[in-house]
Assembly symmetry: C2
Homo-oligomer: 339 residues x 2
Amino acid sequence: MTVSITDVARAAGVSASTVSRALRGRPGVSDEVRTQITAVAAELGYTASRSASSLASGRTYTIGVVAPYIGRWFFGTVLDAAEQVFSAAGYDVLLYNLGSSEARKRFFTKMPVRKRVDAVLSLLIPDEEESAALRSLGVPLASTVGGARPGFTVVGIDDRAGAESAVRHLVNLGHRRIGMIAGASGPLHWTTPIDRRAAYLHVLAEAGIEHDPALVADGDYTVDGGERAMTELLATSRPPTAVFAQSDEMAMGALRALRRHRLRVPEDVSVVGFDDHELADVVGLTTVAQPVAGQGAEAARLLLRQLDEPDSAPAGRVEMPIRLVLRDTTAPPRPRGPQ
Amino acid sequence: MTVSITDVARAAGVSASTVSRALRGRPGVSDEVRTQITAVAAELGYTASRSASSLASGRTYTIGVVAPYIGRWFFGTVLDAAEQVFSAAGYDVLLYNLGSSEARKRFFTKMPVRKRVDAVLSLLIPDEEESAALRSLGVPLASTVGGARPGFTVVGIDDRAGAESAVRHLVNLGHRRIGMIAGASGPLHWTTPIDRRAAYLHVLAEAGIEHDPALVADGDYTVDGGERAMTELLATSRPPTAVFAQSDEMAMGALRALRRHRLRVPEDVSVVGFDDHELADVVGLTTVAQPVAGQGAEAARLLLRQLDEPDSAPAGRVEMPIRLVLRDTTAPPRPRGPQ
DNA sequence: AAACTGAACGCAAACGCTTGCGCAACAGCG
DNA sequence: CGCTGTTGCGCAAGCGTTTGCGTTCAGTTT
């Protein structure tokens, strides 16, 4: 039915071991025989069974990638880049979408990656319990987005610095009532929302602006959530003149809400986002740019390096550059009359 | 080192076969022994090796998903939905990103999915040669997006009807010079761009409007491409008063180009897109909505059904509903003076 | 009481590879 | 011309499951 290594061996008049060595570039095969075997294998359309070879060798040539919300631009882009690096290196990618909490629970109880992968890349740093579970797999681990964790190579950005530059930009423009559309950490325990919030508070304090809790709303990292959050902020007794959204998608939701309220951006309200989403440019969104695909590719590369040099320690945490991109959604506040 | 089925068997005082049967819910094991084995397995943290079990059984409980451009909203969303269906059914997902032509070639020459998957879902209908290669795997096949192909269950939309409704909307508003930002089929041989182009031509002809080839530009299905295409159209001697973009991402690129040219939408130029992108609402884009996640989920479900009932024929082609969504980027053309 | 069930379980043979080891054959050396 | 290396290849023992078949044994039927 399907062609096996012994079929190739028979057709080439050699043993299965020789075929195995020849096809994988192992020494102990003469060039002459090797090319002959390669030709026969190609003619027969032979592909080695991954199940069999990984059972025999212990190597799976597969990387597990766990990601929340693949459909979201950020994670989709990271995944895309990481996958390209892996597949170029001959690794297959086993994808686990842990967006829902059931999926998350299913994954961590059944641990379907056990004995199935050579390494795991998590697109979001898992919480302590979950990372312990991953460590128990005994394979190299990497993560994008989030703080350092023992056993993990993580590539990320300086969230505090990024958020600070965004808020400071608003302060420098003269804004005093600055709102924030925060991302709740939700079921995922990542440090990003926390760091960005801390940065917001820090810059306000630094500028001598008193923090008004009513000016912070949760946007859930989605467009719709951002819209709801902005609507909330507009409903307060003294709405903000500027808003820092912790992601571009929430910022875009905010833009939508503002449009619905017939408020002009940036004349009535300034908005700054975070990420430099592919479409941020389209809507002219001022934002903090970070290398999204770059982080995925870099994390993948570091993981591959660990596989090549098993005794090298995990790389710890590497930081990618960020940059404030000024566009059209931020301006000085409108002068107002006395309240 | 890692715990195997014989470890469990020894600890439970039974044979490996009994453990195997017990854990997979096969008959031939008393309830008493079964619960005891389950407990022991849990205590030892046992997970069956997929390599070994698929080698022995022939089943891999893995689905291969091949997708172009995972980072793009459309495919990311389809993938997300499909993955959820698969993993809920206990299948793992092996992801292959075939965005670049090298990746594509690598995939179809090495065929890494051979003997590795129980079924394949392609997020884009492959060309005839490639689908023949997939058929040679001898597993159920499904695809989203594109026309029917032998051996494939495909779920898609009526591209012609969708595009017609978009262009007809522009005609009904009174536009006569209607441009199109097309998507080149590029290295991928899918029918979508062709169908949408045919629909465009058809509606023009139907309305008695002569087709001007200068009003069609290629946008490559990207935001940047859309911007370039729109810029091209604006550079013609008689620019269009309305544009039909074959995807929302290209439409958003067009919006950006128009903004850069200080042209107002919809007063100066109307724009209609296709897809109902997550952010289409944010920019107020009129578009043809299609169920994106729905197509991924449905294709996944149909594939699983084929796996459950091996003798059932592939479902052929199922069509999902589309709907024109009117927003703010389309309006009647501005009355003009004589030319 | 003997013969016949069926359920519950163990044995052992696959499944298709990888890899340590052994064995020719042959080259180079003194 | 014997000796030691080296090269090229085959043998066979795994790797951790699944599964057809055989065995045991308690319970039922004649």
